[in-house]
């Protein structure tokens, strides 16, 4: 029964924290260790900057999931709050640089959070009166409104060049330890600490009366009314808190990049956070964390591998929506019963077998996309490109035939192997079901 409930009702977070206290503490300590150790393994400047951005993205994606996963509110404008929070933090940071204010740099994410909260309160009050399509449309309208304002109020948003600042300020909390936040590794640890604090806070929020009622209103706003709660107020409070944490993420971005443009509150940024949460899995608290890590990695690394990276990005999203609607977290959680009962070996074997045609299929697809991209965008299409170590001239038909053949063979074998995986799944689940009854 329980494994079924995990698969079918991903939003169900089991209660009884006392029983899980020890295991729960283990997870947080593990996360702390990972945050501490990661930059020692990935120590290049590029990696550390990416890890810092991941911390910010994790907070942003989790705050988005306070709306979508926990509150049932599909927002197309969440970047409004990270962006506006970020701009507030940016201006405050500049005021600190000018000596007009004294706020330690470490607290800038809180400043961003308060900025996000300040805007989430009025916008949230308007948009949370209704859920569903109405909410989604209003969120889109507000996003457009704010994006348009960014072009008009160039004093606040800095126009095309944006607003920049300097994160090395006179007053810091840990300055006595020799920390200046000049080196990016110091900024990473600051972002990591805030990420852990914000994640823990957002996790605890799911266990409060408001957090539980947000789930209740998501499931059935009418019933929530008949147990004494005003769904509008529940959504509004949840929305405001989500706006706060989005602002925290914006503040972290400001510290990392020291520059912010109107792109930060664009519809693209709002779409990206939706994709992060969705690919990670909106039905699980930790899902958006996985999504934020993956998407940030793709954004920073894939874009340097291929000009067509947005195409891959879109394909991954469409593929996840169609074949893994519970996201990466859903895939992980679906394996838990099998892992626990020690039956994962059978599955693993079928995955290993499937890896071969999957690789073949990917090689074929990537070749086709890259060749097509090169053919239509390159100045000299006949100039050969290197694909998987092969010199390819995209104006010659034989390379196209080759790529199509690889894709077709890959796809055929892949579909055949998928049957194998399905059978393995069926056997494992049947065996598990047999044990329970």
């Amino acid at each position: 029964m329980s494994e079924q409930s995990i698969k079918q009702t991903p939003a169900h977070i089991a209660p009884a924290p006392r029983l899980r206290l020890l295991r729960g503490a283990g997870i947080w300590i593990g996360a702390l260790i990972v945050v501490l150790v990661l930059p020692m393994i990935f120590s290049s400047g590029h990696s550390v900057s990416m890890l810092t951005q991941m911390c910010s993205a994790i907070v942003f994606a989790l705050s988005y999931n306070m709306l979508l996963g926990q509150g049932g509110m599909l927002s197309f404008g969440h970047a409004v709050f990270s962006g506006l929070g970020g701009f507030i933090a940016m201006h405050v940071l500049n005021a600190v640089n000018d000596g007009a204010l004294v706020i330690p740099l470490e607290l800038m994410p809180i400043v961003g959070g308060l900025g996000g909260l300040a805007f989430a309160i009025p916008f949230g009050w308007i948009s949370t009166k209704r859920a569903g399509v109405t909410f989604a449309m209003i969120s889109l309208g507000i996003a457009e409104l704010v994006a348009a304002s960014a072009l008009m109020f160039t004093g606040f948003f800095g126009g095309e060049s944006g607003i920049s600042s300097n994160r090395v300020v006179d007053h810091t909390l840990f300055g006595f330890l020799g920390v200046s936040y000049g080196p990016s590794i110091e900024v990473y640890y600051l972002a990591g600490a805030w990420m852990l604090i914000a994640t823990f806070a957002m996790y605890l929020l799911t266990l409060t009366p408001l957090g539980r009622m947000a789930n209740a209103v998501r499931d059935n706003p009418e019933r929530a009314q008949f147990v004494g709660y005003d769904p509008h107020l529940v959504r509004f409070l949840q929305f405001s808190l989500a706006g706060f944490f989005a602002g925290v993420a914006g503040g972290l971005t400001v510290i990392n990049y020291e520059i912010l443009t109107a792109d930060a509150l664009s519809a693209i940024a709002s779409g990206t956070v939706l994709v992060m949460a969705f690919i990670g899995g909106i039905g699980f608290f930790f899902g958006p964390i996985l999504g934020a890590i993956l998407i940030t990695y793709l954004q920073t690394s894939l874009s340097s591998f291929s000009e067509a990276w947005l195409m891959y990005f879109g394909l991954i999203f469409v593929g996840m929506v169609m074949y893994a609607p519970h996201g990466l977290a859903g895939i992980v959680m679906a394996h838990r019963p099998a892992l626990r009962s020690g039956r994962a070996g059978k599955l693993l074997l079928s995955y290993l077998v499937a890896a071969v045609p999957t690789a073949l299929l990917l090689v074929g697809l990537i070749s086709l996309i890259e060749m097509g991209y090169h053919l239509s965008t390159a100045y000299m299409p006949e100039y050969p490109i290197s694909l998987f170590g092969v010199e390819v001239n995209v104006t010659q038909l034989r390379y196209w035939l080759g790529a199509v053949a690889i894709t077709a063979v890959g796809l055929a074998v892949f579909l055949w192997v998928m049957r194998l995986i399905r059978r393995a799944w069926h056997e494992v689940n049947a065996a598990l079901g047999g044990e329970r009854t």
Binding site: M1, S2, Q4, S5, Q8, T9, A11, H12, A14, P15, A16, P17, R18, L204, L205, L207, T208, P209, L210, G211, R212, M213, N215, A216, R218, D219, N220, E222, R223, A224, Q225, F226, V227, G228, Y229, D230, L233, V234, L237, L241
Partner: protein, 250 residues
């Protein structure tokens, strides 16, 4: 202090040109078990929706303990001590049985919109939720999502969620609809237990249930009450026999 738990005065409801509730006057005494019967389409569920604030009334008054409640939103009516169940199961379907009950308790135990308290740490809240779980005999299904319960179990949870908030006026809309004979008996026993000491207003089709449970019965036909009285009086009423009972009981 009014002796009426609930009072309907000249209550009317129209949907467009069609009048569904056509001037209902009804006093529900404190502590009584009052069952509303009537043929399909008589407006029984509409009447419940008007009382509980789900639909706005077209004219007339609804009073709860002497206070007017028509025009108030459902959550405020609920906070004043009226709770209802639904004919079609209406639960928090992705949340567990226990969570459903606990959410139904939160407001009445004063938690409001708190986001600085952990529900897992509230001993009285959790004990109370466990107690209600036991009352509706769902302990074994504690951690199962509501959507995965059997129909009879969902109905039991529906009753549990309705009574959890401690409301003293309970409206149950066809709580035994679609149940087998045994399930119905268990449900009636459950309703008897959990509504002891409270005022119960119930819509019911099963005449066995009606005459076994009701202190008084009201008969609603085409939006009008044609009779109110004890089960014996209703059974003897010729107008009722013609309009309704004749076809179902004979």
């Amino acid at each position: 202090m009014s002796e009426h738990a609930l009072r309907l005065v000249e209550l009317r409801k129209s949907f467009g040109p069609t009048e569904i509730i056509r001037g209902v006057d009804l006093d529900i005494h404190k502590g009584e078990r009052h069952v509303i019967i009537g043929p399909n389409g008589a407006g029984k569920s509409t009447l419940f929706n008007l009382i509980s604030g789900r639909f706005p009334v077209s004219s007339g008054r609804v009073e709860l303990h002497g206070q007017r409640i028509d025009g108030l939103p459902p959550h405020q009516i609920n906070r004043m001590g009226l709770s209802r169940s639904f004919q079609v199961t209406n639960l928090f379907h992705r949340m567990s049985v226990f969570e459903n009950i606990r959410c139904a308790l939160l407001w009445s135990m004063g938690y409001k919109y708190a986001f600085w308290k952990l529900v897992g740490r509230q001993r009285r809240l959790n004990e109370e939720a466990e107690r209600i779980l036991e009352q509706v005999h769902l302990q074994a299904r504690r951690d199962v999502p509501a959507a995965m319960l059997s129909y009879a179990e969902q109905r039991a949870l529906e009753i549990g969620a309705t009574i959890a908030g401690g409301a003293d006026v309970i409206l149950l809309d066809e709580p035994t609809a679609g149940m087998s004979l045994t399930e119905t008996e268990q449900a009636v026993q459950l309703i008897r237990e959990v509504t002891a000491g409270r005022t119960l207003v119930m819509v019911e089709h099963d005449m066995g249930v009606v005459f076994g449970l009701a202190d008084r019965v009201s008969v609603l036909v085409y939006g009008e009450l044609i009779a109110t009285g004890t089960p014996e009086e209703i059974r003897a009423n010729t107008a009722v026999q013609e309009a309704y009972l004749g076809t179902e009981v004979a």
